[in-house]
């Protein structure tokens, strides 16, 4: 089973790299085929790992990176189908490939869950986090595409208006999910640690992330910010998400530090 998982990992990375390269050929059909097949291999790999471990792949940095990148790619597949535009994959592929490269450097052995993680809250909390972080990361990628299109109008990228509205729509959908992450984490923390909020670095940065995106929504709908201002906000938000997701675990010890082991 582990060998099959390894083979799927290699095929998925190769397909993602080929999909990224195909973006420069401007042949959307090829990009679409490569991206969706890479996503299928990625999904199959996660299913295999679930079967091998007898639990959802929500423990440790290796599994976390694979599931996080799966969330980003799921957003990309959904939106590229909805808008019938494969160039949208460009907002997801660089982050997904980077996640796979980092995953290569981490311990990929299947470990049993520690007692504190044996809770029904784990599945809800992590599933919401995958969707929220995936959405924010994808929106950050769209923000980068917007800035590129703004500065280099001849680049073969979707129209600025589409990128702007897609970015806002994804963030507005991902933000309630992020609140869900914090709410479920708080309730679980109350049961597991006796406190819903310990100002653990991960909690602090999750709150900061939520506040950044609350500010995005507020400035967009109450103050009418859009275009490059909105795109830059989405990129800053993505940087905060990356710090909250990886930086905190690697740099700051806390109750979530098991996520790096």
């Amino acid at each position: 089973m582990k060998q099959a998982e390894g083979i799927l990992f290699i095929i998925a990375v190769a397909s993602y790299l080929a999909a990224l390269a195909s973006l420069f050929t401007k042949r959307q059909k090829i990009t679409n085929i490569l991206s969706t097949s890479a996503f299928a291999f990625h999904s199959a790999m996660l299913i295999l790992r679930t079967l091998a471990s007898g639990r959802l792949p929500f423990a440790g940095l290796y599994e976390s990176l694979l599931i996080f990148s799966w969330g980003i790619m799921a957003c990309a597949v959904f939106y590229s189908r909805k808008f019938r535009d494969s160039r949208i994959y460009g907002a997801a592929l660089p982050t997904v490939i980077t996640a796979f490269i980092i995953a290569l450097t981490t311990d990929n052995s299947v470990k049993p869950l520690m007692p504190v993680l044996r809770s029904p809250w784990l599945a809800i909390h992590v599933a919401l986090a995958i969707a929220a972080y995936g959405g924010f990361a994808f929106a950050g990628g769209l923000g980068v595409m917007y800035i590129l299109k703004d500065n280099f109008p001849k680049l073969s990228l979707p129209e600025k208006e589409s990128l702007d509205s897609m970015c806002a729509s994804i963030i507005t959908l991902a933000f309630p999910l992020m609140l869900g992450v914090i709410i479920t984490g708080s309730i679980w923390g109350k049961y597991a640690w006796g406190s819903y909020w310990q100002w653990d670095p991960k909690e602090t940065w999750a709150l900061i992330t939520a506040l950044v995106y609350a500010a995005f929504i507020y400035t967009r709908f109450e103050l009418g910010w859009q275009g490059s201002k909105s795109a830059k906000f989405a990129i800053i938000g993505f940087a905060v998400v990356i710090f909250c997701y990886l930086g905190v675990n690697l740099l700051m010890p806390g109750v979530h530090s098991y996520a790096t082991k």
Binding site: P115, I183, Y191, G194, W199, L211, A214, E222
Partner: protein, 319 residues
């Protein structure tokens, strides 16, 4: 494009100050002795200690700012539209909840209780908790849970409760949680090849699990490689155990001697016999009262509804 009004700017200012303190608190180790800050951060140590940012989230400045933000947001909500009101009130509730959780109304401590030991709740001495036993539970060969069986006593009324990881008990408005385990005391006997039996009692703490027993007569050193709680494995209760290592001759590498349960003996390299008499386990039980929990959850729920209201209002989001 609209601009922020004065009320918005005040709220943003307070929120920014709170975020700065929160970021500072996440980068600088918290609740350390003053000497640590003087050594590690000489340039900002006086500022950290004076402002209370060595314990940023419990500092007066941070908590007053939380209270101020909740008031500012609530007051400035009145002239806004529904989604904005919900977002602001949500943030106000969260700030108020966090303030209450760190106010004098909140209460949190961890009691390390050995089996048979009793802990009286501070300020409520008629209420007490006694640890009956602690054990681990295994499922399909892997560690699944730690369980403490306790007796809670309020004047003459006694109740028996079990608390485990993720399954706290709630009593007298307090949450009782399984937050750790350890070993309080080990009792060994050593019978040398010649001579009388020696009693070796070792006091342990939650963080000290690897004591060294040095025996000057032969120079042999016994080490505790690991210790295990009593455990339920496949519905069978296994007693606590200690894995023993020996170093002999001196300066050689440690060698495994074996795993001992209370009452077990084992022969050491120097010809002596080591007998484990007893292991006293202990449980770390967190006792807390948090009056801000529900307020904060209501706050998150209000922001959640506020965002849905924005989504509903801007369906399709073209603006």
């Amino acid at each position: 494009m609209k601009r922020l009004d004065l009320a918005d700017r005040i709220c943003c200012g307070i929120a920014s100050a709170l975020i700065c303190i929160a970021v500072l608190g996440s980068f600088i180790p918290q609740k350390q002795p003053a000497a640590f800050y003087i050594e590690a951060f000489p340039a900002i140590a006086p500022f950290l200690l004076m402002s209370g940012f060595n314990d940023a989230y419990n500092s007066s400045i941070f908590n007053y700012l939380l209270l101020l933000l909740s008031l500012a947001l609530a007051i400035s909500s009145f002239h806004k539209k529904l989604p904005a009101i919900l977002m602001r009130l949500g943030l106000a509730f969260i700030s108020l909840g966090l303030y209450l959780s760190h106010s004098a109304l909140a209460f949190a401590l961890t009691a390390a209780l050995a089996e048979g030991e009793t802990f009286a709740i501070p300020s409520e001495p008629h209420r007490s908790i006694t640890l009956e036993n602690i054990h681990a539970q295994y499922q399909n060969g892997t560690l699944a849970d730690y369980v403490s069986e306790i007796t809670v006593k309020d004047k003459d009324q006694e109740d028996k409760l079990a608390i485990s990881v993720n399954k706290p008990a709630k009593i007298w408005g307090l949450d009782l949680l399984q937050s750790g385990y350890g070993f309080r005391e080990l009792s060994f006997s050593r019978i040398p090849p010649q001579g009388e039996e020696q009693e070796l009692d070792i006091d342990l703490g939650l963080d000290n699990r690897k004591p060294i027993i040095n025996t000057p007569d032969t120079g042999i050193i016994f080490m505790i490689a690991d210790m295990h709680l009593p455990a339920i494995i496949d519905d069978n209760m296994q007693p606590a155990s200690a894995e023993i290592m020996q170093i002999y001759p001196p300066d050689s590498a440690p060698q495994e001697l074996g795993e001992l349960h209370p009452g077990d003996s084992i022969a050491a390299k120097d010809g002596s016999v080591i007998k484990l008499n007893s292991i006293k386990c202990e449980s770390a039980i967190s006792i807390s009262r948090d009056p801000g929990f529900m307020t904060a959850i209501i706050g998150f729920a209000l922001i959640f509804i506020g965002t849905l209201a924005y989504l509903f209002k801007h369906r399709g989001i073209k603006s």
